[in-house]
């Protein structure tokens, strides 16, 4: 029988397995782990950020078209339906998923306490991934959308993406198998589950909707089962895994209750999978299917409250540190937004509320509260922590960090709050037979202009972040720079800035 450490020693270069640890076992040095992650994590982060910029432009075009329909009207490949769909797929699959994978790689290596293994596997996954997204988004803009929400990429793009997802899942399992730390941290539970759940979700939905389509309304059921679970079983676990790691790490304090964190994970695994059908309230499905989904949605209060209590009590006494740590700012903003988005989601699942809000901008606001205010903010926070470590360089500009945070924080608040209110009013107007449809449309116009303004704030934040990342990379390629130790040690006054 091969000893695990012997296997690792055969796989890893040099003396990677030095140093003690909680178990007294062999563990790799943090710096070596970070260095081993540099190239693949940077690949995923940089390609993700490129897709973020593309998705931001597409979002702005779509937003402007909603209140100024003549905008770019002469370009047939930029019709609202094409642009809006390309935006969604660009930011979900191009940006958010790639940043998720980058963060997952780094967290798994750190928590398994081994340098990155099989870098070739993860690099091939990245290449396949970007090829798949490019083909998919290009196909959407050329009019090849499948018109199935969250699965709009044409059939010829999805096998490429599936190969990538499968390779990422295999890599994560290999890393887990070779881990030097035998005990699992709660973040690893979330990450392992996410990388296994997503290929299953994606593969199942592809087969049941595109390759061998099921009939009639079952398609709608499968569609919403997939679309809702992408949020809850792919992005949410990775977001929560990040929060559970980075908040304690930044403030130097263990999480308030490890028991609660495990309870949160298993209750999410138990209840979330059932949630999707609450999007079909009023639809021609068996009532019990929708009712089960509503009940499961309300049961989601258990993991949500569990997570909220844990995060809050971990932070108690440390809120002053928000002033100094960009990672903490983004993480806490994301954690609070997770609670709010989940509570809004539970409320929206209830029949009487859904009947008002479902076909309105309220749903769009809710999606952005979850995907942006929660998940994207957490991913920004994670990148602020990871990038200096894998590049061994400090962030070049604190001004750009502040511009990024305040741009996106104000932008998303200005987006979500008015759109939630407007959507609710829009829903009551739509349900009133005495109100003309045109009056409803005209009512939304000023609110939609406010949405474009919010989008411009978000875009400014994105540009600031990308500029800072670019500047960081330029510094990385400078001939020699003494390693900056402040972030790594927390010693705020001992910056080594010399060459």
């Amino acid at each position: 029988m091969i000893n695990q450490s012997q296997t690792l020693r055969a796989l890893l270069p040099g003396d990677a397995l030095t140093g003690g640890g909680i178990d007294g076992g062999n563990k790799a040095a943090l710096a070596e782990i970070d260095a081993s992650c540099r190239v693949p994590v940077l690949f995923f982060f940089l390609s993700g950020l490129a897709w973020l910029l593309a998705g931001t432009v597409l979002a702005l075009v779509a937003s402007i078209k909603l209140h100024t329909p003549g905008f770019l009207a002469g370009w047939e490949w930029l019709t609202f339906s094409n642009v809006r769909t390309a935006h969604l797929n660009t930011v979900i699959y191009g940006f958010a998923s790639q940043i998720s994978v980058g963060v997952t790689i780094w967290l798994m290596c750190r928590l398994c306490r081994i340098p990155l293994v099989a870098p070739g596997l993860i690099t091939v996954a990245n290449l396949f991934y970007n090829l798949g997204v490019t083909v998919g988004v290009g196909g959407i803009l050329l009019g090849d959308s499948t018109a199935i929400e969250w699965l709009e990429m044409p059939r010829y793009a999805t096998p490429i993406l599936f190969i990538s997802y499968a390779l990422i899942a295999v890599w994560t399992l290999v890393t887990f198998r070779l881990r030097a730390e035998r005990h699992l941290y709660v973040s690893q539970w979330y990450l392992l589950a996410a990388v296994l759940w997503f290929p299953w979700l994606y593969g199942t939905a592809q087969v049941m909707l595109l390759i061998e389509p099921v009939r009639g309304v079952v398609q709608a059921a499968v569609n919403w089962w997939f679309a809702h679970n992408v949020l809850g079983l792919w992005f949410t676990p990775i977001g929560l895994a990040s929060i559970y790691y980075f908040i304690p790490k930044v403030i130097g304090r263990p999480i308030h209750s490890y028991y609660l964190s495990v309870l949160g994970f298993w209750s999410l695994a138990l209840f979330y999978n059932w949630n999707g059908m609450h999007h079909l309230v009023g639809g021609p499905l068996p009532a019990w299917m929708i009712t089960v989904s509503i009940v499961a949605s309300v049961m989601m209060l258990i993991p949500v409250i569990t997570v909220a209590i844990n995060h809050h009590f971990t932070m108690v006494g440390h809120f002053g540190k928000l002033k100094y740590s960009p990672t903490l700012r983004f993480m806490v903003f994301g954690a609070v937004s997770y609670t709010l988005a989940s509570l809004q989601g539970v409320a929206s699942a209830v029949r009487s509320v859904s009947e008002v809000t479902h076909f309105t901008h309220h749903t769009i606001a809710h999606a952005h509260l979850g995907m942006y205010a929660f998940f994207t903010m957490v991913m920004f926070g994670a990148m602020y922590y990871i990038l200096p470590r894998i590049t061994q360089r400090e962030w070049p500009s604190t001004g750009l960090i502040s511009l990024h945070f305040w741009g996106v924080a104000l932008g998303i608040v200005l987006y979500v709050v008015p759109m939630s209110i407007m959507g609710f009013i829009q829903g009551t107007m739509l349900n009133d037979a005495a109100v003309r449809f045109l009056d409803v449309v005209q009512f939304t116009l000023p609110w939609l202009k406010l949405r474009t303004l919010a989008g411009l704030l978000l875009a400014a934040g994105h540009v600031a972040f990308v500029l800072n990342v670019g500047w960081l990379l330029v510094r990385m390629f400078e001939p020699y720079r003494k390693p900056v130790v402040r972030i790594l040690t927390g010693e705020a006054e001992t910056v080594a800035a010399g060459k």
Binding site: W200, M208, G252, Y259, K321, I401
Partner: protein, 62 residues
């Protein structure tokens, strides 16, 4: 139809079974036995409990 049946079988039987196996593995290997120890896993000798590891804003930078 056979592909659909395979997927449904996989979803209904294999995934919950995998979840139960994961839970059994976790309990048998003591993953839930020492919560205080597990909560310390993000920390080590280089970055121990009590050390802030991200303090870069606040006026002492350009």
């Amino acid at each position: 139809m056979s592909v659909i049946a395979f997927i449904l079988l996989g979803s209904v039987v294999l995934l919950p079974a995998a979840g139960l196996l994961a839970l059994r593995w976790a309990t048998s290997t003591g993953q839930f036995r020492c919560p205080d120890k597990a909560a310390l896993l993000p920390f080590d000798e280089v970055e121990p409990v009590g050390l802030e590891t991200d303090r870069i804003l606040g006026g002492n930078r350009r």
